[in-house]
Structure formats: structure tokens, C-alpha cells
């Protein structure tokens, strides 16, 4: 088989339904969220790189990037970044546990998924509360 057809026939072939028929389950959603939080962290790291450069190059440069950490939008971004970080971190722990064959039964995996979601929110809140108290 050398080359696939290029007359558009391949694009018109029917596809089995997936998102339209699969019942959304927590474990499924958490897997998607793990990927999305990863991308969010990637983009957040890009923004933080700009912020750190502004911090390094003097008050003028800092003025251009201070919106990343200060102001309403900035706080929302940093809050989202920290949540994505803890969510992705706990997701990694979840995968590490599954790698060892633990919590793979129906109740166990639901528990892990819930713990990841809840734990991520708790860790985020804890960090922000402690940070506010410390500063």
C-alpha cells in the first residue's frame, strides 16, 4: 500500500461515535483534566518567565509585566496556576498509586479521583491562606 486516496473519500468515511455516546464518568473527566491542567501549567510557566524577566530587568520592565502577578487578572491567573499545579501533582500521585496496582477496583478508583479533585482544591486553599498569613 503506497499512498492513501487523496480524492476526499477517506475524509467522508463514517466514524464511530465517542463523545456523543460515552457516559461522562469522574475517572474519565479527571484524565481529561490532568491533560488540560498540564497545558495550563505550560502556558503559566511561559507567563511566569515573562514576569521573572520583568523582575530582573528593572522597574521599567517590571511595570510592563506586573499585571501577571498583581491586579485582578493577575491574581486570577496565579490562583488558576496554583490550582492547576496541585491538581496535576495529585493526579500524578494517583497514577503512581495505580502503577502499583492499588485502588484499581471500582470503589478505589472513584475514591482516588475524588481525593485528587478535593485534595487539589484543599491544597490550593491551604497555600493561599498560609501565604496570606505569612506576608
Amino acid at each position: 500500500m503506497a499512498q492513501a486516496e487523496t480524492d476526499g473519500v477517506t475524509d467522508k468515511r463514517p466514524l464511530s461515535p465517542h463523545l456523543t455516546v460515552y457516559k461522562p464518568m469522574l475517572t474519565m473527566m479527571m484524565s481529561i483534566a490532568h491533560r488540560i491542567s498540564g497545558v495550563a501549567l505550560y502556558l503559566g510557566a511561559l507567563l511566569l518567565a515573562l514576569y521573572l524577566l520583568g523582575l530582573a530587568f528593572g522597574p521599567g520592565a517590571f511595570g510592563a509585566v506586573s499585571w501577571i502577578a498583581n491586579g485582578f487578572v493577575g491574581h486570577v491567573i496565579v490562583l488558576g496556576f496554583s490550582w492547576a499545579l496541585f491538581h496535576h501533582l495529585l493526579g500524578g500521585v494517583r497514577h503512581a498509586l495505580w502503577d502499583r496496582g492499588l485502588y484499581m477496583d471500582p470503589k478505589g478508583r472513584e475514591l482516588l479521583a475524588q481525593a485528587t479533585l478535593g485534595g487539589g482544591i484543599i491544597l490550593t486553599l491551604l497555600t493561599w491562606i498560609l501565604s496570606t498569613l505569612a506576608n
Binding site: M1, A2, Q3, A4, E5, T6, G8, T10, D11, R13, R35, G38, V39, L41, Y42, A45, L46, L48, A49, Y51, L52, L53, L55, A56, F57, P59, F62, S66, A69, N70, G74, H75, V78, F81, S82, L85, F86, L89, G92, V93, H95, A96, D99, T127, W128, S131, A134, N135
Partner: protein, 131 residues
């Protein structure tokens, strides 16, 4: 991806579907090891980054300028950048079907992650440098 086996998928027409290139295990191993290292490093980084929000120029510099936060953030990005790069590589491999676009996207990803790591490190070193 290390191999260039040109399997032409009927579904994607002319696009090439990258099939097994035997690099999966190494990818997996790196992701799991780096994830373990990122447990403490990521938590530390989160703490310092959250601490930065709302701070003035001088206060933020004073915070990052101390040796421990500076080193923690540098080591964090040194490991997080390749981890993130491999993660986004998986995403590109999954969702970008056109061969040319896939190559381009993987290239952009590679250099963006290298740039982010170097710029973080440079910026932190500049901030922490003694006067």
C-alpha cells in the same frame, strides 16, 4: 519520536500516522521519575509563586533574591521544562494529524520549553546576583 516509519493512514489521507518507534518506555520512565522529583519541587515552587502575587517590585525581588527560593525555582524549572515538553509532545502527537504541522508543532514545543527554562534561570540568577 525517534523513528520516521511512514505509515500512511487511510483516515488521515496523506497525513502520516506516527506508529510505534520503541521510544515509549523511555518516555514513560522519564515522566514517572521527573514526576517524583517534581512532588517536592513543584510544591515549593507553588509556595513561592503564590507568595509573589501582589508583591511590589522590591518585595518580589527580595523574596526571590534569597538563595533558597532562587535555587528551588531554578531546579524546579530545570526538571519541569523537559517534563512539560514531553507532556505536550504527547498531546501534539495525539491531536495534530497533518505531518507537516506535526513537525512544526513539535519543533515549536521543543524550543519554547528550552526558552522558558533558560529565561527562568537567567532571570532568577540576575535577581539573586549580589550587588
Amino acid at each position: 519520536m525517534t523513528s520516521r516509519t511512514q505509515f500512511i493512514s487511510g483516515r488521515t489521507g496523506r497525513g502520516a500516522a506516527y506508529v510505534s518507534d520503541a521510544s515509549g518506555a523511555e518516555h514513560d520512565r522519564f515522566m514517572r521519575l521527573s514526576a517524583r522529583a517534581l512532588l517536592p519541587l513543584g510544591s515549593l515552587a507553588a509556595w513561592y509563586i503564590v507568595g509573589l502575587s501582589g508583591k511590589s517590585f522590591e518585595a518580589a525581588r527580595a523574596e526571590i533574591g534569597r538563595p533558597f527560593p532562587a535555587l528551588a525555582l531554578i531546579v524546579f524549572i530545570a526538571i519541569a521544562a523537559p517534563h512539560a515538553r514531553k507532556g505536550v509532545e504527547s498531546i501534539i502527537e495525539d491531536y495534530v494529524h497533518d505531518a507537516a504541522q506535526k513537525e512544526k508543532a513539535l519543533l515549536v514545543n521543543k524550543w519554547a520549553s528550552i526558552a522558558v527554562a533558560l529565561l527562568w534561570t537567567l532571570a532568577i540568577l540576575l535577581i539573586a546576583a549580589p550587588r
